[in-house]
């Protein structure tokens, strides 16, 4: 029960109370760009959740070794990037072995693996001193945070696309940025941060 609560609280923390995408900007480019392609949401969300969870768990487990635990943050970051590369190579080998995997899926794996949201997870876990269970929860929460962000931005994009009163200069990316900034403000409010003092 305690394990489950730890997992859930860590997931909620990175998903809602400190939404990594809107409060930290992690993986914001991928979220904004993918929100224009909602059909890609499910595969991308699955791959991002998979990578963030696996990387979080592996990096915390590696940190248990005293030799690595005593290194400074720069070396930790270097090791985490190395682990990400190894996990990606393994994923690509598996994808190449399975005959039904399409080239588009392989491309998605690349985008899902090498983005700031996935690599940020082990670094945040290290700074927050999360244990293995909390790290897995944070990894799952990162994937869910991505889904929330894409759905919210996508619904805004659909609305913005139908509004004809937006001036020509603001139509397109400017309107998307301003809409995303308002979402970011809303999540800043949820996190309890004061924006005026």
């Amino acid at each position: 029960m305690n394990i489950f609560l730890n997992l859930l609280s860590a997931a909620l923390y990175v998903m809602l109370f400190q939404n990594l995408i809107f409060n930290g900007g992690y993986g914001l480019s991928e979220a904004v760009r993918m929100s224009a392609k909602p059909r890609q949401l499910l595969p991308m969300a699955v791959f991002i959740t998979l990578f963030s969870t696996v990387i979080s768990a592996l990096c915390v487990l590696i940190d248990l070794f005293p030799l690595i635990h005593n290194l400074n943050e720069i070396y930790h970051a270097l090791i985490y990037v190395g682990i990400l590369l190894v996990v990606y190579i393994i994923a690509m080998i598996i994808a190449n072995i399975i005959p039904k995997v399409q080239p588009a899926t392989k491309r998605r794996i690349g985008i899902a693996a090498f983005n700031t949201l996935v690599l940020a997870m082990p670094l945040i876990n290290y700074r927050s001193a999360f244990n293995v269970v909390e790290s897995i929860g944070a990894g799952l929460g990162a994937g869910l945070a991505y889904i929330i962000a894409v759905i919210l931005i996508n619904s805004g994009l659909k609305k913005l696309d139908t509004i004809t009163t937006i001036s020509k200069a603001f139509k397109g990316t400017p309107a998307i940025f301003i809409y995303t900034s308002l979402l970011s403000l809303a999540f800043t409010g949820i996190s309890g941060t004061s924006v005026f003092i």
């Binding site: 480019s29 224009a36 720069i74 990037v81 700074r127 139509k171 990316t173 900034s181 924006v195 005026f196």
Partner: protein
């Protein structure tokens, strides 16, 4: 001369019309999260420029024959080789910058700006074009980061490069990602208005593709049009409108039987030949649509009907025998 034009076009596209951050929405994370002061923004611009130029040149020189999904991993390896020595140096020389950057400096190894430009430009062009693209893209990226950093520091902290300039109202919200995104929205609108005046033929909307969202709306519209649309009315002869009148079973049988002998003729007369309806235009051999090579959809359909009827009659006769 054409070479110079090509270079100018590359610079114009990479820096202005397809501005990586304001129109393509790539590499947002560091600008939104870190460029909240001028000093950090300048540092961010320099690091991004170095990384992008080196990665694009290396990709253009060595990675053209490597498979795409391995190239993506190699960009990260290049990023590590560039960013980690910088991290080490900054940590020793400028500990305040290192502390402010926090986890964002190692995250620059997986900057989407690098992967996208290497894939889009570097592996498809020569080293010179890749270098020009990298320089112009990094300059435009850096310019946006620096202007954003300047405005955010000014409005959020009331300082410029750390010097207090005593502005009466400070808005700390601009130091948060919210402020960065809001400012970038206004900068993007300003640049778009500038492009509209200076390069009216260019379309910066193409840089950020929202066609899938538009297509879904358009698809619905097309479906609606198809439902209400009469395909039989879509003929080449707009003046000579042929109205399809469904016939009764008796009429069909009456019509098909005398046609039995003429079955082999491909250019046969219309099934409407004997219909007495005044609304129906009788298509005769004299009409242009009835000539060889101009057979209408109606003619093909009547042929098919008569063939089917003949086949049915044949089978019925065989069964009786």
């Amino acid at each position: 001369m054409s070479n110079k034009n090509h270079t100018l076009k590359t610079i114009r596209n990479s820096a202005i019309i397809k501005n990586p951050i304001l129109f393509e929405a790539i590499g947002l994370c560091p600008v939104v999260a870190i460029a909240f002061s001028l000093k950090l923004a300048i540092f961010l611009a320099v690091v991004t420029a170095v990384e992008l130029i080196v990665c694009e040149v290396l990709a253009s020189k060595f990675l053209k024959n490597v498979r795409r999904y391995w190239r993506v991993a190699l960009y990260t390896v290049f990023g590590v080789a560039i960013i980690f020595p910088i991290m080490y140096g900054v940590d020793k020389l400028f500990p305040d910058i290192s502390a402010n950057f926090g986890v964002y400096l190692p995250l620059m190894t997986v900057n989407s700006l690098i992967a996208l430009h290497c894939e889009r430009v570097a592996v498809k062009n020569d080293v010179k074009t890749s270098f020009i693209d990298a320089v112009s893209s990094s300059l435009s990226y850096g310019a946006v980061a620096i202007i954003t950093g300047f405005v955010r520091e000014l409005l959020g902290n009331g300082t410029i490069l750390g010097y207090d300039i005593n502005i009466p109202i400070k808005l700390p919200a601009f130091l948060m990602p919210f402020g960065g995104l809001l400012l970038m929205g206004f900068f993007a609108a300003a640049l778009k208005a500038f492009i509209g005046v200076k390069y009216p033929e260019a379309n910066p909307n193409k840089a950020f593709d929202t066609s899938e969202i538009r297509r879904s709306l358009r698809d619905k519209f097309v479906e609606l049009m198809k439902d209400d649309f009469n395909p039989y009315g879509d003929t080449a002869e707009e003046d000579n409108i042929k109205i399809y009148v469904p016939k009764s079973k008796e009429e069909k049988e009456k019509k098909v039987k005398p046609k039995k002998e003429k079955k082999s003729k491909r250019n046969r007369k219309s099934v409407n030949e004997n219909t007495s309806s005044p609304e129906t235009t009788v298509v005769t051999e004299e009409t242009p649509v009835e000539q060889e090579g101009n057979r209408t959809y109606m003619d093909d359909f009547s042929d098919m009907l008569s063939d089917l009827q003949e086949y049915k009659n044949k089978n019925d006769g065989g069964g009786k025998k």
